[in-house]
Symmetry: C2
Subunit: 216 residues, 2 copies
């Protein structure tokens, strides 16, 4: 197990319905030393990429992205959910579904902050069905910029997002891939990432294919 | 002028209606080196305080708080706006008005992450009427914890929040206090913080006193 998997085993809480709570160290209270370790690991995994910007999405991706950015020495842009009246000018907008909140969100980035010269690392805390992530990828592509990679803290390997995004050819690096969990025993089963590449063993939940579109 | 005031003069944009846009370096795209300088300055200003936790509020406070936390070596907790279904257990909730978005928000922190042993530095990007900040103070006090100080990036000195909070006896440190701005010339007028203590010269806009309450 790597440092993040060890921390999930120690402090993560498994709830009914395949819910993994990591709010004591990752997405409500944040352990800054852990975030720094994660940033160093992202830097190691994307060392050969010419990344000049990190893109994340509010809210819980921001802390991870900002601490990681110190390892890359690049600025962070965070996408906003739903239109804010303080955002003016031209914007890239993607429409994405949230299964957690049962609604459609707009994911928004000002056109000022993404251009064809940008080589972008996308960072987020969780990947499950991948709807938000697809919105971010669409936005980068709308700007004519390049997605150099995607760094995720915790991927739910039994949902379809990771597989779809790897199938599209993106370098997706998840520091922990949870392939199963048991709310009764509290046990979490991680994918052995040294064996990645054969995708046949990943069971995918149906009915969570994102409808998403870029709005111009 | 200090480093943040210089950056505001260089890259901030003044809009009609006393709007100061700092979205190219502070609250949409974030300059991580600038955030690091801000973190070091907060550490200098609160060096004598026994801070063991930083509290901020989503979304744009999170990046500043996480980078600052590396100077304090403490965890960050971010308050959430409005109820999320992933937050279970007992929560501290404050009801605050948002003048920007013309609505009432709930500001929420899990009771797990604030206790009477906590000595809290509150960090946020902007202070204007201070409604969100009052909600955060209420939450810290509900937990029986201690507010050791408040660190703000940009304070609108012509609005009432800063004066009210200083009058309540809190150590409020704003790295830049904007006392006026002119959308025609783009000029920004900063308060000379070496002369702080005499509050007579601060003009306050009326009609923005927060109604806020802690909900149990």
């Amino acid at each position: 197990m790597n440092f993040l998997e060890e921390r999930i085993v120690k402090d993560g809480i498994v709830k009914e319905g395949n819910v993994l709570k990591v709010d004591s160290f990752l997405n409500h209270q944040m352990d800054i030393d852990l975030l720094d370790q994660m940033g160093a690991e992202f830097k190691r995994r994307f060392a050969d990429k010419p990344i000049n910007k990190i893109l994340t999405i509010e809210a819980s991706g921001i802390g991870i992205a900002c601490v990681a950015a110190q390892h890359f020495h690049v600025p962070v842009v965070f996408a906003k959910k739903s239109q804010s009246i303080n955002l003016d000018g031209e914007m890239y907008v993607a429409e994405v579904e949230s299964f957690t909140h049962k609604c459609i969100n707009h994911v928004i980035v000002s056109q000022k902050f993404l251009s064809p010269e940008d080589h972008v690392l996308i960072i987020d805390d969780f990947l499950a069905n991948g709807c938000a992530l697809q919105g971010l990828i669409q936005i980068v592509q709308s700007a004519g910029a390049t997605v150099e990679g995607i760094g995720i803290a915790v991927e739910k390997g039994f949902q379809s997002g990771g597989r779809m995004i790897r199938n599209l050819g993106f370098q997706l690096e998840s520091l922990a891939i949870v392939d199963g969990m048991d709310a009764e025993t509290g046990e979490v089963q991680f994918r052995d990432q040294s064996k990645m590449g054969s995708s046949g063993s990943v069971v995918t939940e149906e009915g969570e294919i994102c409808r998403s579109a870029t709005l111009d």
